[in-house]
Symmetry: C2
Subunit: 144 residues, 2 copies
């Protein structure tokens, strides 16, 4: 929450149409799914922030690479997509088996299904900010 700032106004800006921005976002997700880290800079800005942390492109790439290490069968699937330049919002669906701890939960190789609701602010054709929430409660319910 960033009080004092006009609500609903991310720092990004984009001249792309809603359709073009949706296509760009789908290409970004395809890049993640093929773990094409050399291509990530086409979609993600050097000064990218993730949940308020200034990760930068290298930190963002490292976070994603680690996700795929921790979750060998990780795959991003777009369930809902709302493109409203400069914002994209997506509901991502996952069905995968984190090998150890995940979000502090002892998943230990069990297959779990969960969603992530995530917003992206674009500047030009690149992601500059990400606000992500993963449905931890859903995973807890499956672990029993």
């Amino acid at each position: 929450m960033r009080r004092g700032q006009r609500p609903e106004t991310p720092r990004g800006a984009s001249a792309l149409t809603a359709g073009a921005l949706a296509d760009l976002y789908r290409a970004y997700i395809a890049c993640l799914n093929r773990q094409d880290w050399d291509d990530l800079g086409r979609y993600v800005a050097d000064e990218v922030e993730h949940n308020g942390r200034p990760l930068g492109l290298s930190g963002y790439r490292a976070m994603l690479a680690r996700d795929f290490e921790d979750i060998p069968d990780l795959r991003f699937e777009i369930e809902l997509l709302a493109s409203a330049p400069p914002l994209v919002a997506a509901r991502l669906a996952f069905r995968c088996a984190p090998s150890g701890l995940f979000l502090g939960l002892n998943v230990n190789g069990r297959t779990v299904s969960f969603a992530e609701n995530v917003f992206y602010a674009f500047e030009g054709e690149k992601i500059v900010s990400v606000w992500s929430i993963i449905d931890k409660s859903a995973i807890e319910a499956q672990l029993g």
Copy 2:
């Protein structure tokens, strides 16, 4: 996750423009903040679903009324808004003091700040489906 269905296609449909749908959504949030339960049916369809559960308008209203009972200082604030008919996606910011358990956490009257990333599918001018995720990890971090 609804496999076998074409991704990104909610069951809703809306003839409203993105701007009009955003205005309608802001009016819905204002309705919640004044706890105007008699007016809720202007924004929410009789057959509304919430996270896959067919609550219906009366169940949805009961859920919201209970939220305000459990969290006396509850207030919905829109931080990000992506309007892409028939979908609206919002990041809502909260700073409030749940009086007892919240999401299974013993908050017990402490003030916590957290976000909700939520999608709505509209049919005409009414919400028919909601997919909500609350940032439970952020609350856990504040409880220490």
